[in-house]
Symmetry: C2
Subunit: 340 residues, 2 copies
DNA sequence: CTGAAAGCGCTTACAG
DNA sequence: CTGAAAGCGCTTACAG
């Protein structure tokens, strides 16, 4: 076993100083070609690579980005990580991933852990619990210490920082308008409880769309789901009692669940009822019927977030101008909506 | 903006030495209660947290685990990360994730990058390209430098290290036997090309099962897929010309694709043909019909891998005894297989 | 052209 | 009980 070699060891072997070795390897013109080449040859032979940790300590930057997300077993977040990772790598950064598991406490612990020098900045999306508590002190603190944060998707306006979002409200509006234009009158909504920021915005978009087309917004056409495991009866009641011609679901899990429940009740999708979802994930692509949905492009979202963070990290002066970038969405039409 | 405070600054403020501050914060009995409490109060007030990087350099360990996987936008790998992350966190470790994107070069670059001091050890799964090239020098090198590696799922016997796998061959055997016991005679296989290690093992399990039940193994009942985007015609031909009563697919993408193609040809699943998959991911759970499949339990796999790595990291003596742990699988019976 | 010194933020054996 | 010194692995301004 040959342990990694250090500058010190090279210096000793070659009987020169550590400074000389360091400068040689960095191609400093201070060093004579002779010793420079000798050192480089030796370093190559022993496969010398500078120690990252030492560099980080010296340079006061780690070249790594901390990612805090609610869950990784969730296609959208996985695509976002993928996007972050790609841009990070292109710019010589690594990513370190922490999961909050939708818990406020874990989010706080993770942030504090990483803020102790391990990373240069954060890309994050809020946990549900954090959104519910509206307690963002941990994020503000990190920012005050001079560590930049970019929030994406599940953001809050209570924190000043860079953000990357989609226009959830508009995207929902467009999706519902798409249904309206097809001629559906009776359009139901399957959404989250209000404290989930994106759920609320999509609900608002649904309401906007109906009102914008002079249609009545009826509370009894709206189902708000707290917990996916116990939502069946509520959705079934909506389908049975209100007989909607179409449903807008604010995520793909709700969409596929609605479709399955409809099937169970003998309703055919899209012949008897159309369903439109949100998030173009695995489920939308592979369920039967495939699901018409609003595509979010997590890869792009992650890429942009990483880009914003890196730009801020490599900016000369501090800059208190924060931007919010909006990633365009688009409606992917598939089999779950009738073509009237 | 109040930057993070250091020992040095605390020492200066309190007019004591850095050593005294350090010892006070670590509750050293060397220090008088008086100054100890004074220092601690001050540190608390300024929210002092030791700098991780400095600790890593000093201790020669980073308390972080490097994860190298082919892709993250892949439910199975996401569950594995989730499992690793959980166990890592419980033991005070962080995880840093790098994606090879199925590329040999990127796998090598990522490993070299992380091996330069950023992490204490690796948990990894081989990229397809690496499996094809059978070039594992980058892994062997890292191990020779004294950095432990735990491989999972896509492993190789050419590298000596700890491993976590499932018994792919046996699991496939069981799945096919399940079909045989249901009375199906004509069982097709949709599998990967041979160089994908787990695909090959599952293929072997299929063959074992047929032979073990005195059934003929026919090459024309086996479809080997290189590229999922261009596989339709091959599978269609199998369905059309050979009229299998059941299909064993070595992953869920192949399974759902087969089901969709069957549907398109007017075959009903499971009435006309049964399909059984591998990997219990989102697709298997949510497609219609839901898919009978071999469940792999990525969370457990990741957890075990992390545990093995951490145990080795925290072991006193070096130990060249490597273990291979086998995670049990089980068959999840759903709607895609007929109940005869 | 080469090297000693200081420093990044910490810990700890040792001296006083 | 307190602090100076050495050291983790590196870089760089400065001296010679």
């Amino acid at each position: 076993m040959k342990r990694k070699i250090t500058l010190k060891q090279i210096a000793k072997e070659l009987d020169v100083s550590i400074s000389t070795v360091s400068k040689s390897l960095r191609n400093s013109p201070e060093i004579s070609e002779d010793t420079r080449l000798k050192v480089q040859a030796f370093a190559k032979l022993y496969n010398y690579k500078p120690n990252n940790i030492a560099l980080s300590l010296k340079n006061k930057k780690t070249k790594t980005i901390g990612i805090i997300i609610p869950e990784i077993v969730h296609h959208f977040f996985a695509t976002v990580i993928s996007g972050i990772e790609q841009v990070a790598n292109e710019n010589g950064y690594n990513v370190i991933v922490c999961l909050s598991n939708e818990s406020f406490d874990k989010e706080v612990i993770n942030m504090e852990m990483l803020a102790n020098g391990s990373i240069d900045g954060f890309v994050m999306s809020l946990s549900k619990e954090t959104q519910l508590k509206k307690d963002f002190h941990h994020i503000v603190e990190v920012i005050n210490q001079g560590m930049p944060v970019v929030m994406f998707d599940r953001i809050t306006n209570d924190v000043l920082c860079d953000k990357v979002i989609i226009d959830d409200r508009l995207a929902a509006y467009d999706a519902v308008e798409f249904l309206i234009k097809k001629g559906f009158k009776n359009i139901g909504l399957v959404t989250t409880v209000d404290y989930v920021s994106v759920g609320k915005l999509r609900t608002d978009g649904y309401i906007d769309a109906l009102q914008g087309h002079d249609m009545e917004v009826r509370e009894d056409m709206i189902v708000k789901i707290e917990d996916i495991d116990n939502c069946a009866s509520k959705i079934e009641r909506l389908l049975q009692e209100k007989k909607p011609q179409a449903i807008f679901a604010v995520n793909e899990l709700f969409a596929v669940t609605t479709i399955k429940l409809a099937n169970k009740m003998g309703l055919k999708v899209p012949d008897d009822i159309s369903v439109i979802g949100f998030t173009d994930g695995i489920i939308s692509q592979f369920s039967t019927p495939t699901i018409t949905t609003v595509s979010q492009n997590g890869i792009k979202m992650g890429g942009r977030a990483a880009k914003m963070l890196i730009e801020r990290l490599e900016m000369e002066e501090e800059n208190e101008q924060y931007k919010t970038e909006v990633i365009e969405t688009n409606l992917v039409e598939r089999e779950s909506t009738a073509t009237l």
